[in-house]
């Protein structure tokens, strides 16, 4: 493999990896606030892309994307309010099954609404064949958009959780919900907010990557597994580690495609997930016990 080709694969991997990282952080936000692994996480990415494509028929691209993010956030909040908010002490098994049910319903609704064709937003700058030279590799500007948007989201989320009042409240809620509510924090609303935030991030990621990867009603499950892999690789709750893990997984996958048939692409990243779960369930960077239900 020549150096240029190597670089090309790395860049392709980073593009996908950035998306996985965002989905992984989405898992982390909801897990932090509720202890729930939201199996419908991938559906947010799909919804973002789909809604943006639909809105784009009447609105310019930036507005369509903004609209898609807002609508998906509303969907995320709605899921939480209808399915999760009013349950006291749901078991892990119950939450797993409920969020799986939710992912199926969202997916089937998307199938009814948009059919089973692939859809895509137009390229933000240039078109399919525009490319920029980076080193010896040719890169579509959309790749820059995707990686840039994901990096910006990660940065903003970090700032939000570290330095804003609301972010600190959400962290307090994640650390100890009873204590947070005793301090007067509206913990239930913070949980709803965590779903909305997580959904919005997924939706934006779904929009920026849509021109490259296309969006279809059924892309959610695969993304959810990848995002979960990334969240686990980084150790649940550790968002910066999730970014590293996401990029690593993306690059590994890109090289896999160059060696194995494309049908095995998912199998390889799942094998990574299983390996991690079996060998080091606390993640590469984490310390927490994964056996906690």
């Amino acid at each position: 493999m020549t150096g240029d080709l190597f670089l090309q694969f790395v860049i392709a991997g980073l593009t996908y990896g950035a998306i996985y990282a965002v989905v992984g952080i989405g898992f982390n936000i909801i897990y932090g606030a509720t202890g729930i692994i939201n199996f419908a996480q991938g559906e947010f990415v799909m919804l973002g892309g789909m809604i943006a494509v639909t809105l784009h028929t009447v609105l310019p691209t930036p507005l369509a994307i903004a609209g898609a993010v807002v609508v998906t956030m509303a969907v995320g909040a709605l899921l939480e309010m209808t399915l999760i908010r009013w349950l006291t002490s749901p078991s892990a098994l119950r939450m797993i099954i409920i969020t799986i049910g939710a992912s199926i319903l969202v997916r089937e609704a998307a199938l009814l609404a948009w059919g089973n064709q692939v859809r895509a937003l137009p390229y933000f700058t240039g078109n399919e064949v525009t490319s920029i030279a980076i080193g010896g590799a040719r890169v579509s500007p959309q790749v820059i958009w995707t990686v840039g948007a994901c990096a910006a989201m990660v940065a903003l989320v970090t700032v939000f959780f570290q330095w804003t009042m609301l972010g600190r409240q959400m962290r307090a809620c994640a650390v100890n919900r009873v204590a947070a509510s005793l301090c007067g924090l509206p913990t239930r609303n913070l949980v709803t907010l965590s779903f909305a935030l997580s959904a919005g991030m997924g939706a934006l990621a779904g929009c920026v990557v849509s021109p490259i990867t296309y969006t279809r009603y059924d892309i959610g499950t695969g993304l959810a597994i990848k995002g979960f892999t990334v969240a686990i690789l980084g150790g649940l709750g550790n968002s910066l580690a999730a970014v590293v893990a996401g990029l690593v997984l993306g690059v590994v996958e890109a090289f896999t495609i160059s060696l194995l048939p494309a049908a095995y692409k998912d199998a390889v990243s799942i094998a990574v997930l299983l390996g991690i779960l079996f060998v080091r369930p606390s993640g590469l960077f984490g310390e927490k016990e994964a056996t906690r239900a």
Partner: protein
């Protein structure tokens, strides 16, 4: 909810009643001139075997599996691949000759004239079941160490890998699956598993007989020492371990038993349908089995049986139309929200009272928002085992 322990006599009685009901349904369908319904009922019965095994795993061992369609498919695909693989070109080779002498192979007339040499369905069936057992054993050792979300995701991962193997392998027919699977001569000349009309009634009884047998065996299992150990694990794993229950061994054993049941169903249904495709191994199929067990009530074998026969029959008859998957998704949500112990557990008056209780404090909340988290409504922390202890 603690399952009531039926006596041995009532267990056999229930299975007897079930078989009588099955016979009554068959007679009614045939007399009403709707014998074609038996085909879907037979298929439902095979899917029910999977649901029964999963009910044992989820309800008694407390382990979720989002990859059970994979074991069904291991059974089905192994049988299909072995019984459609024409070995006549290799007739001269020593291994094939040896297998042939050992009675492993069977000849049958091929569709293009001339005889084809195939693995005997019984041998293929035993291979299929053994393979599923071995895979479940190998996968189960690491997977069952996990709990909660991790277990769910790991089994989902295993299911996805099996699914992509089925779709990605040319040898397994890729997206088309394997068709032209020959009938399975259970008793040569007397009884065979096949989907054509003349043997419809016999096949109906084969399938329902197997379901009855499975219920009987599983019921005896859960009433035995093994069952008590499983219930102890489900109730409080650490306590069970402290009492000397070999938790890992029991979980693994249950996993293998449920996988073997799924493979039996997969193999026989593949012969019945004369083929198998990758939709049988999809994640959605695995989720369906979970939905069925959830509807029936985890830990209720009869509940799983009733839910499986009912829902599969409706689905196979096409009552849900293009909303098929959505129906199962909705079922999952509704059951888990309102009746996590299964719909048979629904206590309507109790539920109404619970809703009333829930509405009243909510009104109080509007008046005094400052202490709304102060009463019993404090959400339980993450990581706590819930009321079903489903970890």
């Amino acid at each position: 909810m603690r399952p009531r322990l039926p006596t041995a006599a009532s267990r056999y009685l229930k299975v007897g009643i079930f078989l009588l009901l099955a016979a009554a349904v068959e007679r009614a369908a045939v007399l009403a001139g709707a014998g074609f319904l038996l085909t879907q009922l037979t298929m439902s019965a095979y899917y029910t075997l999977v649901a029964l095994g999963l009910s044992l795993l989820m309800g008694y061992a407390g382990q979720i599996s989002l990859g059970h369609a994979g074991f069904f498919a291991i059974g089905g695909y192994t049988s299909a691949a072995l019984t459609t693989w024409d070995l006549s070109a290799h007739k001269g080779e020593a291994l094939v000759a040896l297998l042939s002498r050992a009675g492993v192979l069977a000849t049958r007339p091929g569709i293009y004239g001339g005889d084809v040499l195939l693995v005997h369905p019984w041998v293929a069936f035993l291979c299929a079941v053994a393979l599923a057992g071995v895979v479940a054993f190998a996968v189960g050792i690491p997977v069952l160490k996990l709990r909660g979300h991790y277990l769910a995701m790991a089994t989902l991962g295993v299911g996805t890998i099996l699914s992509s193997i089925a779709v990605g392998s040319e040898a397994l027919g890729a997206a088309d699956g394997i068709s032209g699977v020959p009938p399975f001569e259970l008793v040569p000349g007397v009884l065979r598993v096949a989907g054509n009309a003349p043997v419809r009634i016999a096949n109906y009884y084969v399938a329902f007989g197997l379901v009855a047998l499975a219920v009987l065996l599983l019921q005896n299992l859960v009433q035995s020492r093994v069952g008590r150990a499983l219930r102890a694990i489900h109730g409080a794993e650490d306590a069970a371990r402290a009492m000397g229950v070999d938790v890992a061994r029991y979980k693994l054993g249950t996993f293998v038993v449920s996988a073997v049941l799924a493979a039996v169903a997969g193999s026989l249904l593949t012969h019945f349908n004369a083929g198998i495709g990758p939709s049988e191994v999809s994640i959605m199929k695995s989720v369906r089995y979970v939905a069925i067990v959830a509807v029936g009530g985890m830990g209720s074998l009869w509940g799983a049986l009733a839910a499986s026969l009912g829902l599969n029959f409706l689905s196979l008859r096409g009552y849900f139309g293009s909303l098929d998957d959505a129906v199962f998704g909705a079922i999952l949500i509704v059951v888990m929200l309102f009746a996590p112990a299964g719909i048979l557990s629904l206590d309507v008056r109790g539920a109404a009272a619970a809703i009333a209780r829930r509405v009243r404090p909510a009104r109080a909340e509007e008046r005094a928002p400052e202490d709304r988290e102060g009463d019993g409504g404090v959400p339980v922390l993450r990581g706590e085992a819930g009321e079903e202890g489903g970890r």
